[in-house]
Amino acid sequence: MAITPPPQRIWWKEPIAKVELSWIIIAFVWGLVMFFMMIYWHGAGEQNLSNEAYKITPERFAEKSQAMIDEYTVREENYFPVVHPPAGSDVYLIARLWQWWPILELKKGETYRLHLSSLDWMHGFSLQPVNINVQVHPGYEMVVTIKPDQAGEFGIVCNEYCGLGHHLMVGKIYVVE
């Protein structure tokens, strides 16, 4: 029994039953399939998170974002600037207690280099209802190349707990034709 010492003292020489061996082989091969699937997707898939990231101070990130906001703000909504940067450009999104700043307006089918960083605590970038989720750290600037392929209004929920106002932290992205 499993609660007594093995009856065969030399248990490591007992043969393995065929069913067990077959299952071990199947499970092992399945592990390989799943392993190579991730590598395969880096070549063939369109959804891969970039590894581009830099160390940055909150002040510097705020400055860079402000420069974009000053240049490309097209209107205001609920006290948030709505920024329409040119296609292909670097766009900045600030995470801070408890806002995603500013509102971005992007063009469908164009690519953008989206820079994400936090000015205070950790936050979670959760683009909805698309459902893309990326962690945002203070002190690190992550650069993700995105290509919105649907037009419409999208929410950015914060999905990393960031204190009492966590559930107030909602941002917005417009994608226009």
Binding site: A2, I3, A53, N133, I146
Partner: protein
């Protein structure tokens, strides 16, 4: 030690039980159950708050309750119970005196003090940082101090366990190799030492930071090392509850592992590959390379997963072989149909096995895939997954073996037997429900650790789809079922331990049924003639479900915005 050790002989199993070890097992198990009750209550409050139609707690209390829930159940309940399992698997199963009971009590005291300190600090309200306490969010120093004391106590417990193994070997209290269950417990304890070391590396500086002696802790470094502790500790739970599965199958059905070699190798894989596991918490963080993520998240090509998949066949396989040897040989599933489903130890164990595999296991591997994590990270899918592993898996298995510990170790007859028969089903189905519905809500994007999914007070509006609200309503209903199951468990166990009929020294308990040790199915025949067609079928169903679900999620991923 000068004092001579006193033993008694268990009339049911014939095992020699050291009375000092027995006392420690009792103390650890009782405290564990108390914290399960406290933590479970917080869990119910959290689930009721996340039920949109009820929305029970105000925001600050919600975050406080969630912090307390995570800490009390994931750390305190499980680790106290694991201490009981370690002492049982060493001292009792090897028929050996416990090495240094005094140190074991010191460890117990430290764990208890630590748990109480952290609970008090959390209840004071300034430390609602979740049990992960990611910096730079700061808790009161007592929060970290309590966790550190708790961990030091647990470390002492692990060393008492290792010491007992050494004593047993020197005093030759057993023949040949240690039993498989003890081997599983050794796996758990080795991983625990690694885990606690990682915890110390990160929590001690964090404590110093919270009192102002250290000026800065990098959030990314913190999170990486924190999960070297946080994830490895889940591997402790898996090792411990797999050992418990084997123990229950042996005690209730006399089942014997199909192959000692295969089962032990599967445990070994947990030790060899776990250090890599913290990576799957870092799949969408800045600053790691894809190569690092892929190699580590797959624990180097899914070898630890392979370990679990092996146990997934060998545990039901050993049960089937034992049942067939008893003559239940009709068709594929007579052995399973006529299994002792009215015995709460067996019912809980088997449901734990099925839910852990189908719900917790599959979702964990899918979510831990580098790219797929993008569509799940920090959504309710995550708590959905781990209620499948650590609640439907670990907690249910621990509840199941408690039904054997009460008569064997506490020496009391179990009370409320009819209720005890229902308890594993109520709890198991409730927890399976909350796991599945949280996973459903997460697939629809709903955030975890979030007080208001309507965003009523936010500056900008956003609405989750109405299906997500339905999921959270169903989650609330199943949370009530699970809580009823939890309350029943507490009532039955606490009632029996304090008020159950005392068993005389050589009296066998009348319930749950355990065959005398002699009835154990000693042999399955040779490896060549082993027949477990029912298990092969079950494993086949599992495999098909796994493959389909895995690729369905790649399909979901392929539909989101391209990003690189």
């Amino acid at each position: 030690m000068a004092k001579t050790t006193q033993f008694r002989t268990c009339p049911t199993t014939g095992l020699k039980v050291d009375l000092a070890a027995e006392k420690l097992i009792k103390a650890n198990a009782v405290v564990a159950v108390v914290f399960l009750a406290i933590g479970g209550l917080f869990g119910l409050l959290v689930a009721l708050t996340r039920w949109p139609a009820v929305h029970f707690l105000p925001a600050d209390w919600f975050y406080l309750a969630l912090t307390a829930h995570g800490f009390d159940v994931l750390l305190v309940w499980i680790i106290f119970f694991e201490m009981a399992v370690l002492y049982f698997a060493s001292s009792v199963l090897l028929g050996c005196r416990l090495a240094t009971p005094r140190w074991a009590w010191a460890g117990f005291a430290l764990m208890l003090i630590g748990a109480v300190v952290t609970n008090i600090v959390v209840l004071q309200g300034q430390s609602s940082v979740m049990f992960t306490s990611y910096v730079p969010m700061k808790a009161e120093p007592g929060f970290y101090l309590g966790i550190i004391l708790f961990a030091v106590g647990a470390l002492i417990g692990c060393f008492v366990f290792f010491g007992t193994l050494v004593v047993a070997r020197q005093e030759k209290t057993y023949q040949g190799s240690v039993p498989l269950v003890t081997f599983g417990a050794i796996t758990a304890a080795i991983i625990a030492v690694f885990t606690i070391a990682s915890g110390a590396i990160i929590l001690i500086p964090t404590l110093l930071w919270s009192v102002g002696l250290v000026s800065h802790i990098d959030p990314l470094v913190y999170k990486t090392i924190w999960w070297a502790m946080g994830h490895s500790s889940q591997q402790i739970n898996v090792s411990a509850h797999v050992a418990v599965w084997y123990a229950i199958a042996a005690m209730v059905l006399g089942a014997r592992p199909i192959s000692e070699k295969v089962s032990r190798m599967a445990f070994l894989m947990y030790i060899l590959f776990l250090q890599l596991a913290s990576a799957h918490h870092m799949l969408v963080e800045p600053g790691f390379s894809s190569e690092w993520k892929i190699f580590n998240t797959s624990y180097a090509m899914y070898l630890a997963v392979l370990g679990s998949m092996i146990h997934g066949m060998t545990v039901p396989g050993s049960i089937e072989a034992a049942q067939r040897a008893r003559g239940l040989t009709k068709g594929l599933f007579e052995w399973l149909r006529k299994a002792p489903w009215g015995n709460p130890a067996f019912a809980g164990m088997f449901m734990s096995l099925v839910f852990f595999g189908f719900i917790g296991g599959i979702s964990g591997v899918v979510m831990g895939t580098e790219q797929i994590n993008l569509i799940m990270h920090n959504t309710l899918y995550v708590p959905g997954h781990f209620h499948g592993t650590v609640v439907a898996g670990t907690t249910l298995a621990f509840m199941a073996i408690t039904y054997l510990l009460v008569p064997l170790i506490f020496r009391r007859e179990l009370m409320f037997r009819k209720l005890a028969q229902w308890q594993p089903y109520l709890f198991g189905i409730g927890v399976a429900g909350i796991s599945v519905f949280m996973m459903g809500a997460g697939t629809l994007g709903v955030s975890r650790r979030h007080w208001d999914m309507t965003f009523a007070d936010a500056q900008l509006p956003f609405d989750y789809p109405s299906a997500a609200f339905l999921m959270m309503g169903l989650n609330g209903i199943f949370a009530i079922l699970a809580s009823l199951g939890g309350i029943l468990f507490i009532v039955i166990v606490v009632g029996s331990v304090f008020f159950g009929k005392k068993l005389a020294e050589d009296e066998k308990p009348s319930y749950p049924e355990m065959p005398p040790a002699a009835a154990a199915v000693a042999e399955h025949g040779s490896a060549g003639t082993l027949k477990i067609p029912g298990t092969v079928m079950l494993v086949g169903i599992f495999f098909v479900a796994f493959v389909l679900y895995y690729f369905v999620n790649w399909k979901y991923l392929s539909e989101v915005w391209p990003l690189s």
